[in-house]
């Protein structure tokens, strides 16, 4: 069982969470300024690395807050958890 450290609630089993895929994919500032190809990238393409992945989780059965995590998609080890709005690099301290 994955145990994920919610920034608000602490370590809870994965069954309490929803998964939100790749983190830091911002909704485009002006979608209408994008070409169809660029819009398709936003709609349908996400990174899919075999290794560290910055991803989103939401604590559905708890505080219902979204947050980010860096997890290795091979070993499923979570090396960092940080709040929505923070950037990945801020978390490298003692990850």
């Amino acid at each position: 069982m994955l145990i994920i450290d919610c920034p608000n609630c602490g370590p809870r089993p994965e069954t309490e969470y929803g998964y939100g895929g790749q983190a830091h994919v911002a909704y485009p500032e002006d979608p209408h300024a994008l070409t169809d190809e660029e819009w398709a990238q936003y709609l349908f393409y996400r990174d899919n690395p075999k290794g560290d992945y910055a991803e989103r989780w939401v604590h559905s059965a708890g505080c219902r807050k979204w947050f980010n995590a860096v997890r290795d998609t091979r070993t499923y080890e979570i090396s960092a958890v940080y709040r929505t709005g923070e950037t990945r690099s801020e978390t490298q301290k003692g990850a």
Partner: protein
């Protein structure tokens, strides 16, 4: 009673001779004692033979005394028969009635009346295995005050000590030591000892999963209130694996004849169960441990000779003990064949060379038992399930763990520590280390023998194991050299696999099916790997990829060019949960029937039930579907309900629709960004219908939104979409627009909603809410009012319609729902107010072409496709808007919502019927299948008989639907065809005149 136990040894054993127990086997009654397993009872009764082998129908016998058993499977008769249980682990209890199986089970179609449950526990230290290592670990950890859970699959504690009860452990006989430790653990308040509990799975974060047999040993029958089995979910800060090791057989000709048994298992039968498997025994061994069986047999009165495959024989201590006991030992010899089909009658014995080939002639030795020890395989399943590293230890001749998984510890035979005090010492050290890592320090201790010291001794203590992977037979060939008994696979099968080009052990497993039986390779896997080292060359390993458990990690992959690969070059097949089989029902636990999934009901539910409603599942909700009166079928009931709604007054429980309060200074802006239409300027007190789309532009949900205050909105969603919509709102507000001041709260369960519908609804509302101006002028369409009902209950009443009729929705706090519903029924009694369900609701809204998201849409439909371009704002942007300029949205043949009217006005098309052009059918008559695909234009999404129109009709998504209005299409369904006319989606009251009453 004991007279029929011809092979019961007169004294000794961990059995209770004062408690005889009868056992029925294939209809024959035998007697054993409490403390026996079914297998040991069979042995005590002189029966080694069990079911025949699955494919070759060869006689088979009990091979082992544990979970590794490949032959002795039984079906247990009972309330619900259970098959493929190993007789070697099946505790003998009164009433047991079994059938010996030929390697395959029979599922019972009678319902299983037993209950199963689950427990979740958190522990500081979990210890798996209660042999000397595990008991020592549990005791050491418990002494620190840590919370300890000890899991043991057997029905007794002791593990390997059960086969050597007289061995001295910390100065006392093993049986006494076990009892002392057990008592200490029982006395410790934070310790839980679980016997009959097999830890079968090891998952991330030290999540161990185990199954406990709770009731089978209680008089053989389940009792009320005691679940038959229990799944334990144990999450431990630290885990100690003390899971022991399995003995391997030796691969020689006819090594599957009943009477060929694992040497350590023979010892177990003799010492633990006081059951003698044979009177004239040959012990054949590749290592020192086999001698223990020889001594046990000798002491039990059997005649014994030992064949030691090693030219140099045993280690000095073992050799001199054998000599002192008068054991006849031949070195450099092995069994090369068996005489006897249904049982061992003799063993062919010969000298063998370094390759396992016969040297000289074989001699026939009369015997009825061949005890075999081919070496030891640490039981690393749980370790490897966590990707714990393994490597081949050539001295110990086994795959051993390289290092424990993080937050885990290994102790005892699982590490290749094959002597009792070494196991105890390692267990002790592991228990201390585990407790310490969990934050519990040991009080000062006398001596803790370091685990490293133990490691150095390992090889010395074990002695040399000869890696004898196969012994040549007298007649050449390997067709009866069994490697995996359960799968009837032989060394010949392995040779065939490699001959076919297979190199990876995973391929060999799949080509032969070795290791796929219940024992999952415990008997045959390492022998197979060993065999591969004999068959493959170093060059062959160039085709073997890395990555198998236990495989060498040399820089360029396996040792290419070496003359002969080692087992480390090959590696193991993957270890997977469960370690041993677990019943489906145990894993299902209590999630059955009503507990399989929540059945959500509104507070009005009892009334619906009392009034004969039938229900449909909408998500987790039970919604009234229709309310048939005596003698009515669904069509009659729905026709009556529809008429009431359009001609009089009807009411419906709309509580299940999702309700979300959106509050904050930016609530309006927030809604503007997510709905296709605008809400920012919606006046307080007004309501507006809205549609929500995903970024791809497809309709996702819809519902009416009320503006309660400047900074407060009340949004409704579809019943099934409520949770998804809330999640959507929260995702966007938190991750994309955190700068917006907005908070969303689900209030679905806080409000009951009652729709009162029809021309006479106004009168009913007037009675319900006398303080309210409900005149046409006083209460406009899409407005709402807060009021207090005649009953004194506060309510919010909206003028919304999902039928096109004059309609009101009364919203009250949930706990008043039933009361208010009854009040409405009473207030409308004069008007014959009629309850209606989802079916009628569907018909009424369809007549008005109001779409049902998820029925008239399927994730590929836009608002424009639904004919709702009017709801797509042209003045503000919203999520999804960008997608409409993609080329597929400009395609002329996009599907659009229209209505379809069967030319036969009484024909109700099935929902899902497909629509085609009249010419498209060609010569297809509907019988069989068309010779080439027939292009389809769309399908019927909703289909009803309309009371209001006096005819059948449907809604459909049709390519270029709006351009086809007036055209005739063909509906195809159930092998038939029917003509339909395409019409505008809205069929009834196009002007919307009825909504004001």
């Amino acid at each position: 009673m004991a007279a029929d136990q011809t092979r019961r040894i007169d004294a000794g054993g961990a059995i209770d001779r004062s408690t005889p127990v009868e056992l029925v086997v294939d209809g024959t009654t035998l007697t054993g004692f409490a403390g026996d397993t079914v297998a040991s009872a069979l042995v005590a009764n002189g029966r080694l033979r069990v079911g025949d082998s699955i494919y070759r129908g060869r006689p088979r016998g009990i091979l082992s005394a544990g979970v590794e058993e490949p032959n002795a499977f039984v079906l247990v008769h009972g309330d619900h028969d259970e098959s493929m249980l190993p007789a070697t682990t099946l505790e003998l209890v009164p009433g047991l009635d079994v059938r010996l199986l030929d390697g395959i089970g029979v599922l019972d179609q009678k319902p299983d009346p037993a209950e199963y449950d689950k427990m979740h526990v958190h522990a500081d230290v979990a210890v798996v295995g209660a042999g000397p290592a595990g008991l020592a670990a549990a005791r050491a950890a418990a002494a620190t005050g840590a919370r300890v859970v000890l899991l043991e699959q057997d029905f007794r504690l002791g593990g390997s000590l059960l086969a050597s009860p007289a061995e001295v452990v910390e100065g006392v006989p093993a049986a006494q030591w076990v009892e002392q430790v057990r008592a200490e653990l029982e006395a410790a308040p934070e310790v839980r000892v679980l016997i009959r509990t097999t830890a079968f799975g090891s998952y991330d974060n030290n999540h161990l999963i185990a199954v406990e047999k709770r009731a089978e040993h209680l008089d053989g029958t389940a009792r009320d209130g005691i679940p038959r089995q229990r799944i334990w979910h144990v999450t431990a800060a630290q885990v100690v694996l003390a899971t022991g090791a399995f003995e391997r057989p030796i691969v020689f000709a006819d090594n599957d004849v009943p009477g060929v048994m694992l040497a350590s298992s023979v010892t177990t039968y003799v010492r633990r169960y006081a059951a003698l498997p044979g009177r004239e025994a040959v012990v054949v061994t590749t290592n020192d441990s086999g001698y223990a069986a020889a001594h046990a047999l000798l002491e039990a009165g059997a005649s014994v000779q030992v064949l030691d495959a090693r030219d140099e024989g045993a280690s000095p201590v073992v050799a001199s003990a054998a000599q002192a006991a008068g054991l006849r030992v031949r070195t450099g010899c092995a069994v090369v064949g068996i005489d006897g089909d249904a049982s061992v009658e003799g063993a062919w014995v010969a000298r063998i060379d370094a390759e396992g080939a016969l040297v000289g002639d074989a001699e026939r030795v009369v015997c009825d038992l061949v005890a075999v020890s081919g070496g030891w395989t640490p039981n690393v399943s749980l370790h490897s399930q966590r990707q714990g590293a393994l490597h081949w230890d050539d001295d110990l001749a086994g795959f051993v763990p390289t290092a424990a998984v993080r937050n885990q510890h290994l102790a005892g035979a699982v590490r290749g520590t094959y002597w009792t005090d070494g196991c105890r010492a390692e267990g002790d050290a592991a228990g201390v280390a585990a407790a310490s890592a969990a934050g519990f320090s040991a009080a000062s201790r006398s001596t803790v023998i370091g685990a490293d010291a133990v490691a150095e001794e390992r090889v010395a203590r074990a002695g040399r194991t000869r890696q004898l992977w196969v012994v040549e037979g007298r007649e050449g060939g390997y067709a009866t050299h069994f490697v995996d008994l359960q799968r009837d696979n032989t060394a010949a099968d392995v040779l065939r696999a490699t001959g076919a080009g297979m190199r990876s052990v995973e391929h060999v497993k799949r080509y032969t099916s070795i290791s796929t039986g219940v024992d999952q390779g415990r008997i045959g896997a390492v022998n197979t790997i060993g065999l591969l080292t004999r068959v493959l060359s170093g060059d062959d390993t160039r085709a073997i990829p890395p990555g198998q458990p236990g495989q060498d990690e040399t820089a360029s992959g396996p040792a290419a060019g070496a003359a002969r690969p080692t087992p480390g070059a090959i590696g193991n097949t993957t270890f997977r949960a469960p370690f041993t089989p677990v019943a489906f029902a145990a894993l299902a636990g209590r999630s059955r029937g009503d507990l399989f999934d929540a059945a959500r009901t509104t507070s009005i539910h009892p009334w619906h039930e009392a009034h004969g409603a039938l229900f449909e599942d909408v998500g987790q909700w039970k919604r009234p579907w229709y309310y048939p009166r005596p003698g009515e079928d669904i069509d009659a009931a729905v026709a009556r309900e529809c008429r009431a709604a359009r001609e009089g007054v009807a009411f419906m429980d709309a509580t299940t629709l999702g309700k979300i309060e959106i509050r904050g200074a930016d609530a309006g802006e927030f809604l503007n960004r997510l709905y296709t239409n605008a809400f920012k300027k919606l006046a307080v007190g007004k309501a507006r219908y809205g549609v929500m789309c995903k970024p791809d532009g497809m309709v996702f949900d819809d519902g009416v939104v009320l503006r309660l205050a400047e900074d407060r909105y009340f949004a409704t969603t579809t019943t099934g979409g409520a949770a998804r919509v809330l999640e959507w709102l929260e995702e966007w507000s938190q991750t994309e627009w955190p700068d917006l001041d907005v908070v969303c709260t689900s209030v679905t369960e806080q409000w009951s909603t009652i729709a009162v519908v029809g021309p006479r609804s106004r009168e009913v509302i007037a009675r319900m809410a006398p303080d309210l101006d409900v005149t046409r002028e006083g209460f406009g369409f899409m407005e709402f009012r807060e009021t207090v009902l005649a009953s004194g209950i506060p309510a919010r009443i909206c003028r919304i319609t999902f039928s096109g009729e004059l309609a009101f929705e009364i919203n009250v706090p949930t706990w008043y729902g039933l009361q208010v519903w009854e009040d409405v029924a009473e207030a409308g009694a004069d008007f014959d107010i009629t309850p209606y369900g989802t079916e009628t609701m569907h018909v009424l809204r369809a007549e008005k072409a109001y779409p049902i998201v998820g029925q008239d849409t399927d994730g590929t439909v836009t608002p424009q496709d639904l004919g709702m371009s009017w709801i797509v704002s042209t003045t503000k942007d919203f999520v999804g808007n960008r997608s409409y300029s993609r080329s597929s949205h400009r395609a002329a043949d996009r599907k659009q919502l229209v209505s379809v009217l069967p030319l036969d006005r009484s024909l109700r098309l099935p929902e899902g019927a497909q629509l085609v052009e009249p010419g498209a059918l060609g010569d297809y008559t509907g019988e069989g299948l068309p010779s080439r695909p027939i292009p389809m234009l769309g399908h019927v999404t909703s289909s009803y008989h309309s009371q209001a129109l006096g005819r059948s009709f449907g809604l459909a998504l049709v390519k270029a639907g709006r351009d086809r209005i007036g055209q005739t299409l063909i509906a195809s369904f159930e092998g038939r065809f029917a003509e339909v006319e395409v019409a505008d989606a809205v069929l009834y009251d196009k002007e919307g005149a009825r909504r004001d009453g």
